[in-house]
């Protein structure tokens, strides 16, 4: 009987956790970046290699402009891949003593020009819908991104990295 309780408890808890996980994944599809975040140390060495080259970079990636500052970075963090009008962009920031010292584009391709679908909710008090836009159509993004975490995951970071 104890076995029955243990098995049922494991199955029930496991099911609940998986259900929670599943419904959480689509809220933050950044969960895929968990792995890249965990591999932060590898990213850091990569950033150094990229950064030591100074201002020279290739035109296609636009990843130039990273200065020697990144060599002193204590931690580097990679954000999720975000679709912009430049294609998919992945941003990496370097943080030292809680301050952002560097922003780099890790991934910048023209390959997938997938557009981000925006949600289009009509307000009951409105006769019409609000102006629509896709991240490919704008030059800047307004939104409360107060912490460096929030910035890292923001569309603005992707735009900035693309324009570096």
């Amino acid at each position: 009987m104890r076995t029955r309780a243990a098995v049922s408890a494991v199955l029930a808890s496991g099911g609940i956790l998986i259900a929670g996980w599943q419904s959480g994944v689509h809220i933050a599809d950044t969960s895929s970046s968990v792995a890249s975040g965990a591999a932060g140390t590898t990213g850091a060495t990569g950033a150094k290699a990229l950064g030591t080259d100074g201002s020279s970079g290739t035109g296609t990636t636009g990843a130039a402009g990273t200065t020697g500052a990144s060599a002193k970075a204590v931690g580097t963090y990679a954000g999720p891949v975000v679709q912009t009008r430049f294609g998919s962009v992945q941003v990496q920031i370097s943080v030292r003593a809680g301050k952002i010292t560097d922003v780099t584009a890790l991934q910048l391709t023209d390959a997938e020009r997938k557009s981000v679908q925006i949600s289009n909710r009509a307000a009951p008090l409105l006769r019409d819908e609000v102006l629509q836009a896709q991240s490919a159509d704008v030059q800047t993004i307004s939104g409360a991104t107060v912490t460096s975490d929030a910035y890292l995951n923001s569309l603005q970071a992707a735009l900035d990295a693309a324009n570096l």
Partner: protein
């Protein structure tokens, strides 16, 4: 909204740096920098941009040094600790305090320069001022087309395509799905509104709400105005003051507002309508 399809990846140049606990981005059309820029080479344009970015960074650094409560040696921290009285503080501090007080009166208390614990906290107004000053610094360097974005609060001048008269298109993030845009707003160019500020009721990595937002009606409020301080203060005030403050703001100021309720419902002025 102006079509922006003529823009391509090389048309804009950006610089970013961290200050005041957030990230500040300066975006400038490559052509506005005078010299034709070949992407990837550190031409005159790049140097000019670096210099402009450094000027903007200095503006923010100065404001941070004076007003940041996170720096124990800042004037604001000494005021908070009671080591310094307002009468003995700098003129800048007193001016900002007077401005904040007048905003408090105008917003009937929805915006306040004091924290719930009574400590003077001008951070709600300082970021806007710093953005505005950064804009002045850019203008004084002869740059007529630019966009400054400080933690999601935007001030622009001119156009992303110099001489075209096109507006800057600013997207508004969807608070329920931060990887998508909820809406957009045209800033600068022919439009009188040059500033767009967005306040949310979730901060500190979404786990902690800001003071005073307990039971906030709105998840996010965006305000477009002619100047960034007005936009920033009113966005903050509407998050704190709810629907009543929203209506006061739209009646009393020439602004456009897009507010998102916690339920996901939208409230918007005509400027945000399609």
């Amino acid at each position: 909204m102006q079509p922006t399809s003529e823009l391509d990846g090389s048309a804009l140049k950006a610089r970013t740096f961290g200050s005041m606990g957030t990230v500040i981005s300066l975006t400038v059309p490559a052509r506005a920098l005078g010299t034709a820029v070949v992407p990837g080479t550190a031409g005159d344009g790049e140097r000019e941009l670096d210099a402009a970015a450094a000027a903007v960074e200095r503006v923010f650094a100065r404001a941070d040094e004076t007003f940041s409560l996170y720096r124990p040696d800042s004037e604001a921290s000494r005021l908070a600790r009671g080591e310094l009285s307002l009468r003995d503080s700098s003129a800048g501090m007193r001016d900002r305090y007077a401005d904040a007080l007048s905003w408090r009166l105008m917003t009937e208390g929805a915006f306040s320069p004091e924290r719930t614990d009574g400590v003077l906290d001008l951070s709600g107004i300082i970021k806007g001022y710093a953005i505005g000053q950064a804009g002045e610094a850019l203008r004084s360097r002869g740059i007529a087309d630019w966009c400054v974005n400080a933690g999601g609060d935007v001030l622009v001048m001119g156009s992303p395509v110099p001489g075209s008269g096109a507006s800057w298109a600013a997207g508004v993030v969807d608070p329920l799905d931060r990887s998508a845009l909820l809406s957009a707003y045209a800033l600068g160019g022919p439009c009188t509104r040059r500033a767009l500020a967005t306040s949310g009721s979730a901060e500190r990595g979404d786990h902690i709400w800001t003071a005073g937002s307990c039971g906030a009606e709105f998840a996010q409020v965006s305000v477009a105005a002619a100047d960034i301080v007005t936009a920033d203060v009113l966005a903050t005030a509407i998050v704190a003051g709810g629907t009543a403050m929203l209506h006061r703001a739209t009646e009393g100021w020439d602004i456009d507002v897009l507010a998102v309720r916690r339920t996901g419902e939208l409230l918007a002025t005509p400027g945000f309508r399609a």
